[in-house]
Symmetry: C2
Subunit: 198 residues, 2 copies
């Protein structure tokens, strides 16, 4: 039997998602087809709008609905410390920890020569522009503790220290080889507290 | 920080899918937001069309794009044997096995008094109508080997046998490739009862 074409197409699309194999995609597809139409519409709209309505904060590169992201537009936050992360999802991880009250800078990638990603391909220039305004006293490098993350941190450290800005790196409380995104709040909080001068 | 609303809504929608917890939903949502717009549109459309284009085969209840499903419209298949399953996804599982060449009947549920599902709530009447045409010689009951599946099979068996149609039940036993040691007692007991002369 040829599977119904619309279902096969849905399975195919779902199996492109990270961590979704063929079997899971098939289970999800059949589940979706069995849902009431209103619910399916809600899901499809949420996906489409999620992409369409979300823009990048022009200051820090985090996801935003308005002009600035919710962190940059929050007047309560300290403006003298910036935490540099790879992805918006890492901002989210730090915000869950609840005890950081500074700003962020999202690189949208890390330096990775093997993948053809150099310093000019991520938001390093934007970071230097922010630093040149003189308000920022400390840059916390919070890229993942993997090869590319460490290399990017080392690169940024060499670049920023001469500007007279304090450069720190989150402590290796985050398990080496682990992903920030999957780190529990306590570990993340420890890692942040244990940050050291680079 | 309040998470960006469109992302929160997407996480919420995704976490309603079976087997997708909060963390997975978040990972998927950030992945989707980071995709090129064309790809996101394809996914959203596949979901929506998956639901909209798929209809139920009026004969067997399987998913179909056209008037009849691909099994019922296949002239090569035997029309004297019908395999009764709970869901269209079970049809799919049987079709992957590739050596069944009869028809199906999809109940779209099983009898489950605790969930308020009685015999009239699933496609039993449609099955009896098919049987009354006299062409079908055997009904294979292939509902799941759980409480509701067994009860539904027992109910159907009592209903169909008096019509002079052969009623069979798929065998339950140790899965091929499975280990006796890790097989639960009920399955093992079934496997023993169902033993055959070699």
């Amino acid at each position: 039997m040829a599977e119904v074409e619309a279902i096969a197409r849905l399975v195919n699309q779902l199996s492109k998602l990270p961590g979704v194999g063929r079997k899971t995609a098939q289970r999800l597809a059949y589940h979706i087809v069995g849902l009431p139409e209103a619910q399916v519409r809600e899901l499809a709209v949420a996906i489409f709008e999620g992409k369409k309505k979300v823009r990048l904060c022009p200051v820090c590169g985090n996801y935003a609905d308005g002009d600035l992201c919710s962190v940059c537009s929050d007047e309560e936050r300290r403006r003298d410390i910036v935490c540099v992360v790879r992805d918006p999802r890492d901002v989210n991880a730090f915000e869950r920890m609840r005890d950081y009250d500074g700003l962020y800078h999202v690189l949208h990638g890390v330096i990775s020569p093997l993948d053809g990603v150099g310093p000019d391909d991520i938001r390093i220039r934007e970071l230097l522009t922010r630093l040149s305004a003189g308000e920022i006293q400390e840059v916390v490098l919070a890229t993942n503790p993997d090869v590319e993350g460490e290399a990017t941190a080392a690169y940024l450290s060499r670049l920023i220290r001469p500007l007279g800005v304090r450069v720190t790196r989150i402590a290796h409380g985050v398990p080496v080889g682990g992903e920030l995104e999957y780190t529990d709040e306590v570990t993340l909080s420890r890692a942040f507290q244990g940050r050291r001068e680079l």
